[in-house]
Point group: D2
Chain length 320, copies 4
């Protein structure tokens, strides 16, 4: 191992910069040269990169976003795009490529790994926490805390006006963020894509709350449930309480990473460098039951990470 490429791909997540810093500095300890591709897969296809040394990653640990930038890259989903990417990482004499990103990045890395012998490892980083093979992704804890802070502010108005608020959090396919936020914010109702939508049950809960004098409720709903507006209408019409909707949106992606997101970035980076040096390839590193682990890209791609439904039940009990 002499030369390493790094790329951040897909949606940005807080802690990606902490991961870049850790990878570059641990590479320095192992005398590895490092380059960083710009704008995700696009940078590999266009061979657009910058050199990265220990000084270049100074002062980035606490920054949200990614200094390597990221983008959606449709070309990478084509055979031609993948082949160009494979060709470029080889022509740059890379021995290893480390991809920092979410579930889509794992799939991309897997496809790329079929076309090249360059060793590939993925550091799971996503506010959605949707990567199979790790209990938690870099950035997830930050997003949860950001959403929590927002809901604390919204609750001020909810209580003062005695309104029900529907707060939509990110999560197109998965409800990890919604569950964690809902449980820790004390939301009265949590709605996720993994559980069949039951409007009647929600109405019943809000009605019951109103009947015992709880005039303000918070409903946390994952974007992917797709019922935010219709539910607001239904509650106003059927329960007769005032409802407001708040879509948290992009603030959930940004901000300085929490300690935990930085910690995961650090230990994942150490595992990835160590694994590549040990000759491993085609892996996703992660944390499972507090152990730093790695599984194959294939295994990660062919499994879906289960949501802990027990937490939903616990949240429901706690929000009486």
């Amino acid at each position: 191992m002499k030369k390493l490429g790094i790329v951040t791909s897909g949606g940005d997540a807080p802690g990606m910069n902490a991961a870049i810093r850790a990878l570059v500095r641990l590479s320095a300890w192992n005398n590895l040269e490092v380059i960083g591709f710009l704008r995700g897969w696009e940078g590999i296809i266009k061979n657009n990169f910058i050199p990265l040394n220990a000084r270049a990653v100074s002062g980035i640990l606490h920054l949200g976003g990614t200094i390597l930038k990221t983008s959606r890259c449709l070309e990478f989903k084509t055979r031609e795009g993948l082949e160009k990417a494979a060709k470029n990482i080889e022509e740059n004499d890379l021995d290893g490529l480390i991809v920092i990103g979410g579930e889509g990045s794992v799939r991309g890395a897997y496809e790329l790994s079929k076309l090249t012998d360059v060793k590939i490892a993925v550091l799971p980083a996503s506010i959605d926490n949707d990567v199979y093979g790790t209990d938690e992704t870099i950035g997830f804890d930050t997003a949860v805390n950001t959403a929590l802070t927002e809901i604390n502010k919204i609750r001020d108005t909810a209580i003062s006006h005695e309104r029900t608020f529907i707060v939509e959090v990110m999560g197109r396919k998965r409800g990890f963020l919604a569950v964690e936020v809902g449980l820790t914010a004390g939301a009265e109702v949590i709605l996720v894509p993994e559980v069949e939508y039951d409007e009647k049950a929600v109405l019943e809960t809000i009605r019951k709350n109103a009947s015992i004098g709880k005039n303000s409720s918070i409903i946390v709903i994952a974007e992917g449930v797709g019922k935010t507006t219709s539910l607001a209408v239904a509650i106003e019409k059927n329960v007769g309480v005032e409802v407001r909707v708040s879509v948290l949106g992009y603030v959930q992606r940004g901000g300085s990473p929490t300690a935990r997101s930085r910690y995961l970035a650090s230990i994942f980076a150490a595992k990835a460098i160590e694994s590549l040096l040990d000759g491993k390839s085609g892996i996703v590193v992660g944390i499972q039951k507090s152990e730093v682990t790695s599984i194959s890209l294939e295994e990660s791609c062919s499994n879906e990470k289960p949501l802990n439904i027990e937490l939903l039940k616990l949240a429901e009990k706690l929000a009486i």
Copy 2:
């Protein structure tokens, strides 16, 4: 003066509780009995109130929202509603009524003042900063800082993905919040209801930025401009950059008040109590050129607070 009523009305604003605390405690120093009407004007109409003493307002200084709650009250906009309210404040033997709220509350207080001899004073509290007679309202500084924090987070993603973000802030009729947020967040474009909407100029700015390599821009737009979605479409179509929209929404109303919002609450409360004790009535207290002042409700109602257009020009110069 022996007995005082307090009410919070209209949209909640951070610092309303600081104002309640200050009013109650300064009343205690002047041996005034205090009651707090619940849920805004509705509480006066329904004669729904609680006693408030110095201990009752302990531990509320740092809380967002209002412990007296607030609501929209259509009945108060009718002659019957106003008369019921006037009757109730008199039958409670009130010598004074202090209303904490925004522009709508000033209007309500003015109408009520025509029907009763009870002395009335308004403490301007609104995240919109729209009350004529004060340079700044309680809650405005907090809302500005909240929006600023949100935009800082959004900028992480804007830069990482090289996107243009349109950030919609509150302000149906007035652009005070948008200007202050836009200037201090370094927004590339600021759009307010007071200035005629010029889509072409915005497109030109975004295009020029792209041409000099500024691939991410922030556009701050006041809700009342009403062009958030159409502008996003126009930019994507005409300039060819990726655009995302973020509506900050209700988080702008909540949160612990900043020092400045608490400071205004304190000095406004002192002025209101002092004014009523001096026999004044029908006033809005405020701060003008750093002096604590008061003007008549009538004057406040019949004037519109001007927006400082110079700040827009300054913001534009600074965001090159």
Copy 3:
């Protein structure tokens, strides 16, 4: 099981209120009556308590500190004090007592358990993370993030003035907080009680940093190392750089709990209630390798939780 007592003991930690709320509400689901003793062990000895029902713990989830208050109680360390406490929990017809606190509270609970048949469980809550039997305590994650935020601010001045800052974090005997904070803040040096103090090595690191142009460094030191002042003097004298000391102090104990501290409070509470209902007693609940577990009070008291020294090495590598 019909009646439960709850007490918070020792230093307060963010998330204690989240734990109280969870315990009370889960008790309600199991038809358990709950009382809360005031001011820690002192409240049990003096039989000073309040009833707690589901409504009484409303609105406390996000609050730092403990609504049950806490105190140091020397009397509880005497045989007489323990006997009074044992007598009181029995005379209140308690079936179970749940103690929320740190290492000292585990010891206290263990001593008490020898004198009574009332079932006792401990929820580990401490910013020091020093309880054997759980990988993490309630409040630890919050304290880490608070200290991180402080160091971010201090770094602004450190860089602007090109100074070395020695930041003292809490931890009289243990370095968990210092390690986690130091690693995630990118501290150049981390000093903990568990590792022998080597002033020469610290001087060497600061000197080397200065020689490569890193003119500002952060040294995170646990209070228990006891060398904060002498180290500052030694660096100024021997390396010739400006040094400033910042003792973070009590801010580390306070503040709204992070999502993770609230999450642990919730799952620990569920485990404690379930365990007592199952007839278990004399236990500390906790999380080990992501599983919610419990061990005996005796085992927790007779072992010392090991510090992960590997993290110190990783932090050192990352801070070049």
Copy 4:
């Protein structure tokens, strides 16, 4: 006017970077070349500077500290140092020099102005708010809010443990920060250098609070009062309540500037550029009664900014 120098001097304050950005960008609009001296006066004496253009100040608006760095410079207090500085600004063909700093920087600028014809203006930036000629300095509002946030956290522990906390804030000679923080944090006692220290009165207040059941109090004391430790001892001994001391320290200097600190930086910069272009020199810009103004360096140096003692009385009344 063709060429401008900028320097940040004395203790760093949040918003200095916002001021640098505004100065550089407004200079660009006026076709002025700009250089930035490094490390305060030292940079002028050593002729150590960097060119600054509109792109160079991109992305710094929200950063605490100063990208130009700052330092204490004893040499500048000597005749030789001043002469070297005067010579360098002339040999660099500067037409104007803008100094960003506090009271000491105003004095330095005044001394320097006696030795050169280069036009000099000061932008008052200091967390101490101690510059005569402006109602508020850049950075003051940020420091107040930072201290407020800290005290909110400390109050959690103060209440939970029923302790009195003495919180020491910055301010060697002046009590502006202490008064504003104390008033808005609801401190029970505020101690500033401008008011004679009266230990007996403090003890009386704490005793009275304890007698009405207020078992936790916050005392805000400015560093310059110099009685932090002795007061703690006196209260413990004479009133018999537990006391803890928290010295907020350097965190008060750092952090992202609040909207208000950024706003002042923007309007002060506009005034300074405009004034120099108008041919003015030897001035401190500022805000007085909401108007952007300027006074002479001499006037600023020969007057002491008065503290508003009325606010202390108001704070006392509110904290019952």
